[in-house]
Subunit: 432 residues, 2 copies
């Protein structure tokens, strides 16, 4: 939690920038105003949070013109800032160690059509400022700290968790962090709040009061919700402050245990794209590699992705390194006319080994399997597996590594071994 | 097909025995008569068939008395014969190379309650003698030869195929062997003949005209029916005399092909019981071993039983010899209250390795797997796998062999590699 000093400093930074922006706006005769948004404005910020200032333009401005004017205003305050590109371009800078974003948007009213999703942000701030009291602000912060510890705080596609705004909506709905815990510990199935029209089907549905057509909880994955359900049970049974202290580098040594498995690593260059574009592709790659393994009936035990500064790795762990040199081909039921062509085809093939015979009412023939090593199966099929737009382009440089010793020394493998949800923060008597 | 000479000799043997039996019956003042039954009586016998003579007793005799008198009469003809035990005891002997059975039964009428199933046999003979003409007798013999070639002739529990009587019923129903082939080549699903009450659910239902409450086709397994469906298609597409010539020792060398698999062999002493009691237990043992492998998630490719003079072997072929040293334990969904005890139990276990984490909404924890070799998994669990009454008793002497070279030299393995349904008898242009 930020101390009073940190808060005061950040507000001073924000006030100064907004004052300078307002004077530039007036000087240029632009129909716009500035507004402090985000958790700092609502008092729900965690330590080291950003300062987010929005410039709200009249809807009379055309989009291109508004975006141009927004960037110009930003540069008038931070001439050396680099522009960034989200839905609108914006500028980002650092003041005394604090990240400051200056973002242009349109001024809209509650429940009116937005032009871009950032247009809603000032409304979120306004809505929360009117409703969050001193007590509930503390409950929001507890909620955020708890979720952060569990690795499910943040709506980025990397985390697939609960955004700060969702934490605030949860406290408005449940009243206190403790009640939120109680409800979550008993929740079975989806978490749905105020979805009267039952329009949404994602694991978490929390209707955005600022735009009733929007699900503010859309980013939360089922696994993130599952972590919440589990962690809340442990918290209530063994309550502890430890649930709110977060160590970014816990430095725990992964357990070394002879696993008796076979590892393959797909390693691909990390493309220069933002996380929200990269991570869905990394997850897609992992999913598609897993599906491929399943279709080929490979004994896949674990599949794990790991993104480093320059590389994306997908680790696959198997029960064995290869398939047998024979393969059973199961034909149609014996009553089907195609059994004749099935038998003729396979018995005339140079790969025929044994059969035909009948198993469970179907014709079975054994044929030779030409490619048996999982390594080779993946290498031969990489081009048919979809990695997503940007990763697909880098596929020609991808490699399938199978040097077991090298993989076991890699950071990806170390991260894989360390995977653990900190459900049990307070249970120091547990072995781990 | 037997030649005229063989038939004439067999009838002479039968006539002589029946004459001697009748005179003994008269001498002893017993209310009974003798009757030649089976395929010899109906003219539908294949080469080297048996002579079956039944002694039909009045139902006034008590069972024990009838059985005693039946054995006595048999011994009066063949003093050195050994008694055999089926539903009633009977005697079996060999005359000039032909096996002769003398079987006591009760005299019953069509569709009256039987006392034992052998009581029906004389009625089967009577029914068929009245209906099978010269032409249809030939069609029956073709049917038997065809089914024998495919390994599905005989209703013993070893074969699970079509009995001679069923072959006769099939020809009475379909008229000719060719029409039978045509119908079978188009059959999808079960083969049902005259089951107006739809009482039976087995793959083949052929109501016995002599006892309408009986399914004469009950012994036929789904796989035997599947072989028939497939073979009939090939016969019609590529008709050939080869479908009727049967070589008991085809002597084909099995294909030697590096299979890249791991073999286990369960070897158990063959108990001194008749085939109809032994084979269901062998099949049960194979089935239960297969189910056990499936429950343990072992990568079983093939499972095959082989009965020799002194041993019963079940061969199991796997994709690999062992499981990894880690095992993923999947707990309840995160919304379930038992997740807490699941996590506590596994994390406090000395076998804990990694986790907990969430996968597809469920808690997963990795634990150490203590026994990883399939060989040891089977050895440790043999006592929990049901082999059937007689084989269970011999389980203490059973062994699980895993010397790959020795298994590959065994007769069981050789038989396994030779497995092949002779659907394609005429297709000499096929590789096999």
């Amino acid at each position: 939690m930020p101390d009073e000093n940190e808060k005061r400093n950040k507000h001073a930074i924000a006030d100064d920038i907004m004052k300078r922006l307002s004077s530039e706006i007036e000087k240029r005769g632009i129909d716009a105003d500035t507004v402090l948004v985000g958790s700092l404005a609502r008092g729900t910020a965690l330590k080291n949070s950003d300062v987010d200032i929005f410039i709200r333009f009249s809807r009379n401005y055309e989009r291109a013109k508004m975006e141009r004017a927004g960037l110009d205003l930003g540069f008038s305050i931070f001439p050396d800032a680099t522009p960034k590109y989200a839905e609108h371009p914006y500028i980002s800078s650092v003041v005394s160690g604090t990240k400051v974003d200056i973002v242009p948007c349109y001024r809209i009213e509650f429940n009116t059509p937005k032009i871009s999703s950032v247009d809603r942000t000032p409304l979120h701030t306004q809505y929360m400022k009117e409703r969050l009291t001193g007590k509930s602000i503390e409950e929001v912060i507890l909620t955020k700290l708890f979720l952060r510890k569990q690795g499910i705080y943040g709506s980025e596609l990397k985390t697939e968790g609960f955004s700060g705004y969702v934490c605030e909506l949860l406290i408005l709905h449940f009243g206190t962090f403790y009640n939120f815990m109680e409800q979550m510990s008993r929740l079975s199935g989806r978490l749905v709040i105020r979805d009267n029209v039952k329009e949404f089907h994602s694991p978490v549905v929390i209707i955005d009061p600022v735009d009733l057509s929007r699900n503010a909880g859309a980013a939360v994955s089922n696994d993130s919700l599952s972590v919440l359900k589990t962690a809340s049970k442990f918290f209530l049974m063994f309550p502890s402050d430890d649930y709110f202290y977060y160590d970014e580098n816990p430095g725990t040594e992964p357990v070394k245990h002879e696993r008796g498995t076979y590892l393959l690593a797909l390693v691909i260059e990390r493309p220069d794209i933002i996380d929200d574009i990269l991570f869905p592709q990394v997850h897609l790659t992992r999913k598609k590699l897993g599906e491929f393994a399943e279709n080929m009936e490979l004994p896949l035990l674990n599949i794990f992705d790991h993104v480093e500064e320059k590389t994306v790795t997908v680790l696959m762990e198997f029960a064995s390194p290869s398939l047998p040199s024979i393969e059973k081909r199961t034909g149609p039921p014996a009553g089907n006319m195609n059994v004749v062509s099935f038998i003729e085809k396979h018995m005339n093939s140079p790969d025929f080994v044994r059969g035909p015979f009948v198993e469970n009412g179907r014709i079975v023939i054994e044929v030779r399997r030409k490619i048996t090593q999982f390594r080779d199966i993946f290498r031969n099929n990489l081009e048919n597996i979809n990695f997503g737009k940007n990763l697909n382009r880098l596929k020609p440089g991808a490699s399938i590594l199978d040097n077991q010793e090298e993989i076991r020394k890699s950071d990806a493998y170390r991260a894989f071994l360390s995977v653990k949800s900190p459900f049990l923060s307070a249970r120091k008597d547990f072995k781990k």
